[in-house]
Amino acid sequence: MSIEVLIVEDKDAKFEAISAVVGSVAPKAVIHRARTVVEAERMVREPRWKLLLLDISMDISGDSRGALSGGHANLGGIDVVETMFYENIIIPTIVVTGFDYFIAAGPDEGTEYIGLSELEALVRGKMPVGYLGYVRYGVDGWVNSLIAACGGVVW
């Protein structure tokens, strides 16, 4: 039986870097990719994933034309986490993000800032089971952090 891993990531370079780390930890893993919120929400409903590596900021749909033209979700990864929570989907999950803080919809019309620790609290709250931690992509030592987080997966 193959080990199937889902990486939710819109940026090619980051996807390749993360894939390489996963490949080094689990050489037999078959890696699949979702690039958008809509794709990711559809794919997490498939009952086959050993591990989910989740980006946070991404486009909502493949056609929404990227960050410059609207249709971008700063916290798209949280949409995916919430879908998993409300539909009771449990997958071992590592958040891999390239940002230190995010702007999110606040109450009413405003927005609010969410730092990595608040983001983690948000994810933990919606993922009482399965959450393996977060990795700040691109900083010194991120590869080792990701390898360590992957240690929580029963391959």
Partner: protein, 594 residues
């Protein structure tokens, strides 16, 4: 089963007893902690009924949550079976009656429409949202609790602003100041009422009112600054803070949103990446394509680090460790004092908001000038240094002389490619002229309509072309943008519906008819239709929202009424059906100026 029946009964009773009131947010009396416990135990499944969805909607309103995923997920069965947004709205109207006003307004945002996978393109989702609101208002009228005329018009302005910003500007910092001011007004209304009351009392107690108080203002970007002001000036200072916060945190037009989504989200690096990718297919004398493929990734990695570092350092609103936030909009004490002392005696909230808004605009222009300077004076030299050091380290590893020469050539070429990309990217940081956001060209409207029908265009079902005889400087006034966009969209829909060809072709051109300029929307059709001519008249209406509702739901009468609203006079739309052509002559000129 028993548990589910009890829940269903509770949901039903709650729905019967409580109306949604997003404008006043009356408390429903529902025990949301208990509902949370239910969700923790059973998740979303019990809520996937119309009553369950309704209960979750009430929760979202009371908890002031925007775009709640739990409501979207509770609606999954309906959104997955609906063929279109319009289909889904029909279900909402049928199921929830007048409460649809609140449901559509709160749930069917452009982002939620995309997440529900009911539309693929943002421009289309925006237009669908407004269509959905229009349909519910058409059916049930406005409602003080759920959707007022003012709120509807504000949505309409938002769509126009979004269309402008999405399609017109290469400048990434085009801001709809109208939307910022609306948000500021909403936020500051209550404070201003308190300010007026306090001001009256203070005027009678000069000793108290002139006393100094030192206190902190916390801004939406989490910066906290301590100011010392007279007691009587503090309420005005709070209002100034609220206006600045509206600009910092507005979800679509706020500076943080612009920086996060348009700049920090890897877009700048992506632009440079495109330039580097472009080098692979290009010819550099003495360098083979395989050299380029082999060596460029090392250069790209170095360049990429420099760009990320530059973005991380400057493209922020609040300072931080190793961060020199360029977009600082927090006033000094002297600046704040100038606002509040000038306006403390004023009872005009609008005037204070205007003054702060002007200050923000000037400050933005100045920051953008600094950003352009930093592109030249900081990023360019850093990119050059990174290229040079990569070149040196590659040459040290490749001792073969011919190889070293190739590395040098690649480095030098890359440097000039990136220099010119830096120059091009200055446009991103151009100061948008305020006049640009007040009106659009017809080409901009065409691009917006292209966005609206993007999936039809990409699948080959529709082709839209604008003739070169439409002057490029012909503009559409801001208050007519949506009307002209709707005329155009309606005629594109018409062309697809009636052309009977696999690809509906719509050509838009301009001519004189009856002594007046008119726009002509011509489409080809299968050579079988009826031949003839007819006129359809439309009358202007007194209010902007009435323009939309009076126009009816579809077809040429709608076009005639929209045209009358644009021209602000009775408008005659002339229809000319030929053997293989269908031409609609629409007067749209008073909305324009040559």
């Amino acid at each position: 089963m028993k548990q589910r029946l009890q829940l269903a009964d509770y949901f039903k009773r709650l729905r019967a007893a409580v109306r949604p009131s997003p404008n006043s947010r009356y408390l429903s009396g529902a025990d949301w902690r208990w509902i949370d416990d239910v969700i923790s135990a059973l998740r979303i499944a019990p809520f996937r009924t119309p009553d369950g969805v309704y209960v979750l909607l009430l929760r979202a309103i009371e908890e002031r949550e925007r775009q709640p995923n739990y409501v979207r997920l509770a609606l999954l069965t309906q959104t997955q079976t609906a063929a279109s947004v319009s289909d889904f709205v029909a279900w909402i109207i049928n199921e929830y009656g007048k409460d649809s006003l609140a449901i559509v307004r709160l749930i069917l945002t452009a982002e939620m429409i995309l997440k529900m996978n009911l539309e693929g393109y943002y421009a289309a989702a925006l237009a669908e949202r407004l269509d959905a609101m229009t349909r519910t208002v058409e059916r049930f009228g406005f409602d003080a609790e759920m959707l007022t005329e003012e709120q509807f018009l504000s949505e309409q302005r938002t769509l126009s602003s979004a269309l402008m910003i999405m399609n017109v500007h290469t400048a990434q910092f085009a801001v709809s100041w109208g939307s910022i001011k609306d948000a500021a007004m909403l936020a500051a209304k209550e404070t201003f009422a308190a300010f007026e009351a306090v001001n009256r009392v203070f005027n009678e107690l000069p000793l108290l009112s002139h006393g100094m108080r030192t206190s902190a203002l916390t801004f939406a970007n989490r910066q906290t600054v301590i100011y010392s002001l007279k007691n009587r000036d503090w309420p005005a200072a709070v209002i100034v803070g609220q206006v600045i916060n509206a600009f910092l945190s507005h979800p679509s037009h706020g500076i943080e949103s612009i920086l996060a989504v348009r700049i920090r989200h890897d877009n700048l690096r992506y632009e440079f990446g495109l330039a580097i990718d472009g080098m692979i297919g290009s010819r550099i004398a003495g360098v083979s394509e395989s050299d380029l493929r082999d060596l460029l990734p090392s250069f790209e990695a170095a360049v990429s680090g420099v760009i990320s570092g530059w973005v991380d350092r400057y493209m922020h609103t609040s300072p931080g460790p190793e961060r020199n936030a360029l977009f600082d909009f927090v006033p000094t004490e002297a600046e704040l004092r100038e606002f509040v002392e000038t306006d403390s005696a004023s009872t005009q909230l609008g005037r204070l908001i205007d003054r702060v808004s002007e200050w923000l605009q000037a400050r933005l222009s100045s920051h953008l000038a600094s950003a352009r300077r930093l592109l030249d004076e900081d990023l360019k030299p850093k990119l050059s240094a990174a290229i040079e050091s990569t070149s040196d380290s590659l040459q040290a590893k490749n001792v073969v002389p011919y190889r070293a020469a190739r590395i040098d050539k690649i480095g030098k070429t890359l440097r000039s490619v990136l220099d010119s990309r830096c120059d091009a990217l200055r446009e991103w940081f151009a100061s948008p002229l305020s006049s640009q956001v007040h009106e659009l060209s017809f080409m901009d409207i065409k691009l917006a309509v292209d966005g609206r029908f993007r999936s039809e265009i990409e699948s080959g079902r529709l082709r839209i072309r604008m003739s070169s005889d439409v002057p490029v400087d012909l503009r559409v006034a801001a208050d007519s943008v949506r009307l002209v966009f709707d005329v155009w969209s309606e005629l594109a829909r018409n062309a697809m519906k009636y052309s009977q060809l696999s690809t509906a072709r719509l050509r838009v051109w301009r001519t004189v008819r009856g002594g007046e300029w008119v726009f002509v929307f011509s489409s080809l059709r299968a050579p079988s239709g009826q031949i003839g001519e007819e006129d359809v008249n439309g009358e202007p209406t007194v209010s902007t929202s009435a323009e939309i509702f009076k126009s009816g739901r579809s077809g040429l009468p709608k076009v005639a009424h929209l045209a009358a609203s644009v021209t602000r006079a009775t408008a005659t739309v002339h229809i000319c059906k030929r053997r293989i052509g269908f031409h609609v002559f629409v007067p749209l000129e008073p909305a324009t100026r040559p």
